[in-house]
Symmetry: C2
Subunit: 423 residues, 2 copies
């Protein structure tokens, strides 16, 4: 039996495994976590609108009915391409998984531009833990503002800086502005309506992947929500008290106790390890350069997919779920074609458009010439995200929770957990 080992239970790995359902293969899916994270909604966990269980789904539950998949929780520790075995550290220790085809979808991480120490202060949203950490930081700042008596300190506690105005940064900034407004009656001393939400962007507009007209709409929507978008500004330093911002006019240090990082993306380090093992090249953000059929040069049995991949001869694809899903499905098609002794055409990305939400009932959409903003764009965003949320149960619960939140402005998952609840 042909053995397929898939690394990563993200959007790409999941699609690869699901589309090998009827193939005559034995699949081993390896992930560090026991669940799939619906990462586009992680910011909703970070702001207490959704529970972790509503955007995460156990991998074992996803593949319960697919008998040819075995799920293994563990971390890849290297590559043994000669023996065609993948070494994995599982809960019990080092194990080796032999394969005939290896599919690697390791994803990406945020780029702190050479300042890894910033990560301790400015959390990111790529993982569930990152989202829960941001939730604690935001809520703790509001709690502290309620007991702080010094006005300058209280203002710093009520200043939230989001770095990077891509879709994640815009969504995050919009949500924080809404929390501040929605919770104004929860606090007696802290005037959360006076909270400042700064959205700091090095480029000259927000949502640079969208047409300029939609960027301008998004800018105005953000302003009307109470967000202050600061474009053409670079973050040059930050600590747990403030952020240093450079613009054409010079440098300014802005006191802000809560900083959230959503700027720039690097391929996961596994891309570099795979490139080193195979002799493949990587590009300037660490993505492995692959052939037009997503295989690694000289290793037709190794397929790389998702955010960590740059296809030779193609411009880089955006690091979004549809790219990873299409690559995962392509990898499955390639395996099936080879088993049938057939050839598969090269991978082609079909761009269905771009969507970003800004806040309650506000979004922008750029879908093949159709440019929308406002309520209808938001409705489209809502339906698409619900549709792609895995599992019937989650979709229904998330829809219900959103409906309730929309009408009541409530945020039921506003919990400060972990060991950080007290200083």
């Amino acid at each position: 039996m042909h053995r397929v080992v898939i690394v990563g239970g993200g959007f790409g790995g999941l699609q690869a495994a699901l589309h090998l359902r009827r193939a005559d293969v034995e699949i081993t899916l390896v992930d560090r976590r026991n669940f799939h994270l619906f990462q586009p909604l992680a910011y909703q966990v970070a702001t207490g609108a959704l529970n972790p269980g509503e955007i995460c789904y156990p991998l074992r539950a996803i593949f319960r009915g697919q008998e040819n998949v075995r799920v293994v929780m563990g971390e890849v520790t290297g590559f043994d391409l000669d023996a065609r075995e993948l070494p994995v550290r599982t809960v019990l220790g080092e194990e080796r998984f032999p394969y005939d085809t290896l599919i690697v979808g390791g994803g990406s991480k945020y780029n702190y531009f050479g300042h890894p120490e910033w990560q301790h202060v400015a959390s990111e949203l790529k993982s569930l833990e990152g989202a829960l950490h941001i939730r604690s930081r935001i809520l703790r700042s509001l709690e502290a503002a309620e007991v702080e008596e010094d006005p300058a300190q209280r203002a710093a506690l009520l200043t939230f800086a989001v770095v990077g105005a891509g879709p994640t940064g815009v969504e995050m900034a919009g949500q924080i502005a809404e929390i501040a407004r929605d919770t104004r009656r929860d606090f007696r001393l802290a005037d959360t309506e006076k909270a400042r939400v700064l959205l700091i962007e090095a480029g000259d507009r927000v949502l640079a992947a969208f047409p300029p007209r939609l960027s301008a709409r998004a800018f105005r929507s953000l302003e009307s929500l109470g967000v202050t978008p600061l474009v053409d500004r670079m973050v040059t330093d930050l600590d747990d008290e403030s952020v240093l911002v450079r613009s054409g006019d010079g440098e300014e240090r802005i006191p802000a106790k809560t900083i959230i990082w959503a700027a720039g993306v690097l391929a996961a380090s596994i891309a570099g390890h795979l490139a080193a093992a195979t002799g493949a090249k990587t590009d300037n953000v660490g993505r492995i350069v692959v052939e037009p059929d997503l295989t690694v040069e000289g290793h037709p049995e190794v397929i790389a997919i998702g955010d960590m991949v740059k296809v030779r001869s193609e411009p880089p694809y955006p690091g979004v779920a549809p790219v990873a899903m299409q690559m995962g499905r392509y990898a499955a098609r390639l395996v099936r074609a080879r088993l049938d002794g057939a050839r598969a055409a090269d991978f082609r990305y079909v761009d269905k458009g771009n969507l970003a939400t800004i806040g309650r009932a506000r979004a922008v959409a750029d879908l093949k010439g159709l440019k929308l903003s406002g309520f209808f764009a938001w409705l489209m965003w809502l339906l698409i995200h619900l549709w792609y949320l895995i599992g019937f149960q989650n979709r229904l619960l998330v829809f219900l929770r959103w409906s309730i939140s929309f009408f009541t402005h409530g945020r039921g998952a506003r919990l400060i957990t972990g060991d950080e609840h007290m200083p």
Copy 2:
């Protein structure tokens, strides 16, 4: 304005604050956490059936509309009874809150019978973190069983020992047996149907607070779910590999990788600190002995409520939510009566009966002579627990999630989170 400081946002403190809604008082509610935990359902989080946000509710959201309550997140560091000030460590540092009436409801914790080191191995269910820790342990054991090849080790990984057969222990054991059965199709190698769930009880029957006939019914229900109740057995030692059990026949060491503690309860340490500060006595489980009107002897301005309280001249009350809620309401009544210059009658506990659930559609109920078991007892349990869950949103979502779980046997919140996901 009369200042009331309430310590603890559990069932007692919450009722005290809510029933002072219309009183001419200024209330400060102090809790270490920013949320109320609906503790009777913590075991459902521990088994992945519910999300944390469905059994926790932000204190600020509860008191949003009650203008005379100020919520402070912080930990009580002592008592200054002469100055009538409560020192509290908040997120910003030490603060002091002056009061005219102090209401203390610190709750209880589990009793490891002089072995505090057992707590690191055998988690308990009093806190949200404890529940999440148990969830990780159970799920990690199942993950490890899926990769373990040694049959003896695999059997130990699939053995779950619950210590203490009170309502919490019984609910927990029943739920673990159900997880093992519900997830049998999620695993390829681990035969989770062969999981052993041991319920170890030092007394001679399970659910000792119920009439013997219902204990016998519960015993049979547990057995039919696949739980092995072991009565007349004392746990004399435990580590992360096994549990040592003593019975009339001698000692036996049972290999078990997952141990959950639900035996014996101690008053929270704040009860002892309050007793030391006021000169009040404590009983054998650390509860502070109070007057028939719940005030501390010699300190009519200090009222103690809930699990941490033993009323002089009364037999001890069970450590359940209805006792704490009645005491909280009584404390509010006492404050209101004093403000009106009136006297309040002594506290009297109205016992409405006892309910314990065992598994899907199984429960026992002992309600003032009405003794029920099976489906109708479970339905009653369901309705009562939904009714008391605070907040419309949670009640609806929990009901929906339960309905879905009931019909699909799904457990959507089966996530291994925290830093423990890898060895």
